[in-house]
Amino acid sequence: MKFPAAFAMMLCGSSVVVADPAKLELGKKVFLELAEPNCGVCHTLDDAGTKGEIGPLLDDMRPDADRVEAAVTNGLGAMPAYDGLSKEQIAAVAYYVASVAGKQ
């Protein structure tokens, strides 16, 4: 298996959902590299190895994908709207954060 088990399968309620590894990979790349400034500058997320402390700690917050998508698309408080990212990239980073936050 290419991805750790935690990536491949996630418990969602009582049903087992198979994760989308390509989307997770893209999401992590957006989180660490493609977003400008990158998400880790302000946010702590164990899975990505980031320690930013400007914004909320994502491992504590455990936002769902919709919440991340809205925040990245529209901005929120001091957080800017990420105009430079495509819809696909935003959906991927939302999926990634919702999948890994607080799971380690």
Binding site: V41, C42, L57, M61, N74, A78, M79
Partner: protein, 406 residues
């Protein structure tokens, strides 16, 4: 598993072992919670003086007071007051020498950096006011767009991102007069927070710097006390710029610069953040900034089921910039209204008023709502127009409370 559990629970309750069943129910819930999510971490150091049992934790920087904690206390205790920090709160070193904290005053005839000790020689005032996050009530907007492709980002506050507190400090006007007056051409008062912005980030992207119209100079104070105690770090101590009647974000914590400026701040939080815009649009400088609060009220007692007979339905009402003139209460979700009584002290136009309606309730189901009118005749709308960031919700319908009277 869930079906099995429900059967068990019903069985046990039917067996009359109510207390044991309830204990097991809670135990099971806690266990089920553990399996899915880790134990909630203790509060971050800067908010550790608050009791988690009183609060709803949205994130380490967004902590709401539970509605049940409003009760009938006109002044909201600091240890229950909501938290919304736009960037991480600074360390305790910020409050190590409170009187030594420095604030730079610019855009006046004789610009100068003053310590809090020096500010204390220039004037003294206290204002009682509602402090309310711009996004308080956002959850009600978010419910409206649920299931659509529209999205409203931000913390899903209901009513608990608000409190009524007393700030003590020096009127900014007195400081300005001591420094020769405001320079001509100033249109805004721009306050800058002292949070340290780490390397690798454009300070304008995240710094907390807000501009408010210069006409607020009559009301603005630089405050060091909150309800009789030095302002905690969590709430902006040692010095906070207080703009009565303006929503939370405009009351800059750890204020280190106050400038009279011809233009609004170029920081993102001012330029494109906290703007009133349509759903799907982005924030932009030509949209209205989130400044003055509007007339609003909600019921705080009772929130649960009550006994038939005489009941006191109470809550709080405020007018933003104006005093509250009257409050109506409805027990049938807004079909019929009765005038409530304003009780308790009137602590000025920026404070909220406690209201109460004495009602004889027969057994049945009720929806409690309240509707305030301010001194200028502005009335709370049933449902405010939706906006893209979910700011300034002041509708009376959504915060309604459903109760059963038995």
């Amino acid at each position: 598993m869930e079906t099995q559990f429900k059967l068990n629970r019903r069985h046990m309750l039917a067996g009359g072992a109510g207390v044991a069943a309830a204990a097991m129910f809670q135990g099971f819930q806690a266990h089920a919670q553990d399996a899915k999510t880790p134990e909630p971490k203790p509060f971050p150091e800067y908010v550790r003086f608050k009791n988690p049992a009183h609060m709803i934790v949205h994130s380490d920087q967004t902590i709401e007071m539970k509605r049940s904690e409003f009760g009938t206390s006109i002044i909201t205790p600091e240890d229950k007051l909501y938290i919304r920090n736009n960037v991480k709160a600074p360390g305790e070193d910020f409050v190590a020498d409170r009187d030594g904290w420095q604030v730079e005053i610019k855009g006046v005839k004789n610009p100068k950096t003053l310590t809090v000790a020096e500010l204390k020689t220039l004037g003294l005032t206290t204002v009682t006011m509602v402090l309310q996050c711009s996004g308080n009530g956002r959850a009600y907007f978010q419910e409206k767009v649920k299931g659509t492709d529209q999205k409203i980002s931000g913390t899903p506050w209901t009513v608990g991102a608000a409190g009524c507190v007393m700030w003590t400090g020096v009127p900014l006007k007195a400081v300005v007069e001591a420094l020769g007056g405001v320079e001509s051409g100033a249109k805004y008062i721009t306050g800058t927070g002292g949070e340290k912005i780490p390397e690798g980030i454009n300070p304008l992207d995240v710094m907390v710097e807000r501009s408010v119209p210069v006409k607020t100079l009559d009301d603005v104070i630089l405050a060091w006390d909150l309800s009789g105690k030095p302002i905690s770090l969590a709430h902006g101590g040692p010095l906070r710029m207080i703009v009565p009647g303006y929503s939370g974000v405009n009351n800059v914590k750890y204020v280190k610069t106050v400038a009279f400026t011809a233009e609004q701040s170029q920081a993102k939080i001012q330029k494109t953040g906290y703007r009133m815009h349509k759903v799907g649009e982005k924030g932009a400088p030509d949209q209205p900034s989130i400044w003055e609060m509007e007339v609003k009220s909600w019921v705080t007692v009772p929130l649960g089921d009550v006994k038939a007979g005489r009941n006191q339905i109470s809550g709080f009402a405020f007018g933003g910039m104006n005093a509250v003139k009257s409050v109506e209460v409805s027990v049938d979700g807004g079909e019929t209204w009765s005038k409530a009584e304003l009780v308790g002290p009137d602590m000025g136009r920026f404070a909220w008023r406690q209201f109460v309606l004495s009602a004889d309730l027969k057994p049945g189901s009720y929806t409690l709502v309240s509707r305030a009118t301010d001194s200028q005749g502005a009335v709370q709308p049933k449902e405010p127009e939706i906006n893209g960031s979910g700011y300034s919700h002041n509708g009376w319908l959504a915060p309604g409370v459903k109760i059963t009277v038995a």
